[in-house]
């Protein structure tokens, strides 16, 4: 009974033909691409600035960021903030609150601290401003760290789930993990969302189990395909200045 008798891709074809799943994949795709780019820019620019020893006020800023790592006000204040900012039910609510974190800024700062000062000085002599140094020297120099952090950010955005539950109400903006969860955890009769219920509907020739399995595979494929190529970068990226012994 558990050994497959025939191979079939019908369930994959079926899922990829449903509007609900494709649309949610699109949302998660936008998050993974757009969110990652924004995250990389915000994280690396701040990390670069904080790696410059001459910067006045650096210690204060570092301490202020450290506090956010140690103390988290929790779900309710964050929820009310999103509400007050008018971001409720907007895709920005899934991107902005997770743009970066103290941990990522510190890790990337460690990376920039190991870039020799001569590189910066040479660029300055050639007439680069600090912004020019950042875009023309520091970003290219940190390509491997960017690849590693990019992977971490992209995976986190692709896997966005609870923020979708908390902040998104309209069907059109639901990220994929939310739709996937509705499909997986509830049986076809319990699903509140009619479009999801329809996907698992009993009129289908396939058992819902098969459709569920296929959905799990589809949602994980992008990660499984991309990640092995970036593996060599993230072991580097993770270790930058963080472990010394």
């Amino acid at each position: 009974m558990l050994i497959p008798q025939t191979w079939s891709l019908a369930s994959y074809e079926y899922i990829l033909s449903t509007k609900t799943f494709l649309r949610s994949m699109g949302i998660s795709g936008i998050l993974a691409v757009g969110g990652t780019l924004l995250s990389l820019i915000v994280t690396s620019s701040l990390a670069y600035v904080l790696s410059r020893r001459r910067l006045k006020g650096r210690k204060f800023i570092l301490f202020a960021i450290l506090i956010t790592m140690l103390f988290n006000p929790g779900m309710i204040p964050n929820y009310l903030l999103i509400d007050k900012l008018g971001l409720m039910d907007s895709i920005w609510a899934l991107i902005l609150p997770s743009l970066t974190s103290a941990w990522y800024v510190f890790l990337m700062r460690n990376f920039y601290m190991e870039v020799p000062d001569e590189l910066e000085e040479a660029a300055k002599i050639d007439g680069c401003s600090d912004i020019g140094v950042y875009f023309r020297i520091m970003i290219p120099v940190s390509a491997s760290a960017m690849a590693a952090f990019g992977l971490f950010f992209a995976v986190a955005y692709w896997n966005t789930y609870f923020a979708g539950v908390l902040y998104i109400n309209s069907d059109a903006l639901r990220p994929m993990q939310v739709i996937l969860q509705l499909m997986l955890v509830q049986s076809s009769t319990q699903v509140a969302d009619p479009s999801v219920a329809q996907m698992l509907g009993s009129e289908q020739v396939m058992p819902p189990q098969v459709i569920k399995m296929a959905a799990v595979v589809i949602s994980s494929i992008p990660i499984v395909v991309v990640y092995p190529f970036l593996q060599k970068y993230f072991t580097q990226g993770m270790m930058v200045g963080s472990v010394k012994g």
């Binding site: 701040l46 006045k56 988290n72 779900m75 309710i76 204040p77 600090d130 955890v185 569920k212």
Partner: protein, 328 residues
């Protein structure tokens, strides 16, 4: 015996000479100069600083909700102030002990059963001499770290569901009775621990592998000359070589006992297991966001954050005592 007094006097004598940087003449001028010189650097930091200000510092204001009977219609300013009413209510509520017990149980199970596994796995990987094989194994064991909790929970439901889970179908085929893996309260904590191990144990090896690669290779050669076999080398060189890393990570892990995986528990939680599954975050979500009792739920959140803060600071100090770099 008079040491502490001496120290105080020393400190007192030292104080006046420690002038505040802000009170020095020309401090403002220095700031202006630095700002002019590095204006583009400061500009570059603006997006990041804005993020921390808006999304990490503004919400701290929301902590005042704990002292308010917050009404969304009245807002922060006009809602009624209730002092410590919600604190008294939360700590006297039997829910509090249940939340605390569940958090501690889930965390301690995690420390006892999860924590050693990445170490063992890293030691095993370290003994693999065929690099291709090692790399393939690493790729496979890191992978689950990147899967979402929705996927992990989903796989778990597909495997262990009572009516149509694969494991139960196998059990039935061999003539057994189906087991209610997912809704039996006695299995719930074990299920969470097993899930965490499956998802994160491989990823956890990275830090130990890095520590292992820092061991001086000459030691092994010397040991081999002295006739140590592979087992002895692991026992007397490898394990002592990563002992300090293990101790520090364990200490830092103890500082995070209040943090249990919210998404994981939220996804695995159901009616029959609610009394063993409920932790601070799930409680805050249910009572605060779903039932709209913002002030009361904020108290639960604050309790978790404050205890977490104290533990992190204490354990970090302890880690530094061992002469290691702490979390910060």
């Amino acid at each position: 015996m008079s040491l502490p007094i001496e120290r105080v006097q020393e400190g007192a004598a030292y104080l006046p000479s420690q002038a505040k940087p802000g009170s020095k003449p020309g401090a403002l001028h220095e700031w202006k100069k630095a700002f002019k010189r590095d204006k583009y650097l400061y500009l570059l930091a603006v997006p990041g600083l804005l993020f921390f200000l808006v999304f990490k510092y503004f919400p701290m204001w929301g902590l005042s909700l704990a002292f308010q009977n917050y009404s969304p219609f009245l807002g922060f300013w006009d809602s009624e102030w209730v002092g410590f009413k919600y604190f008294a209510e939360f700590f006297s509520n039997p829910d509090f002990m249940i939340l605390f017990r569940n958090t501690m149980a889930i965390s301690l199970l995690n420390i006892v059963f999860f924590f050693p596994i990445p170490i063992i796995l890293a030691l095993l990987l370290n003994e693999v001499r065929l690099m291709v094989f090692k790399r393939i194994v690493q790729t496979i064991v890191y992978l689950p770290h990147f899967l979402s909790w929705v996927v992990i929970a989903g796989i778990c439901f597909l495997l262990f569901g009572q009516a149509d889970g694969i494991v139960n179908k196998l059990i039935e085929q061999f003539g057994g009775k189906p087991v209610a893996f997912l809704i039996e309260p006695n299995y719930f904590w074990g299920m969470l621990t097993a899930q965490s191990i499956w998802k994160e144990a491989g990823w956890g090896t990275i830090i130990f592998l890095a520590a292992l690669s820092g061991i001086n290779q000459d030691l092994y050669e010397a040991a081999r000359i002295d006739g140590a076999n592979r087992w002895n080398q692991m026992r007397y060189i490898t394990i002592p070589g990563i002992k300090s890393t293990i101790i520090v990570l364990l200490i830092l892990r103890l500082g995070q006992v209040m943090d249990v995986g919210f998404e994981q528990i939220y996804l695995m939680m159901s009616g029959p297991v609610a009394h063993v599954a409920d932790v601070f975050d799930t409680y805050v979500y249910r009572v605060g966001i779903q039932q709209g009792r913002f002030g009361y739920a904020t108290v639960a959140g604050i309790f978790k954050s404050v205890v977490g803060l104290i533990l992190v600071v204490l354990t970090n100090r302890l880690a530094k005592k061992f002469g290691e770099e702490g979390l910060y």
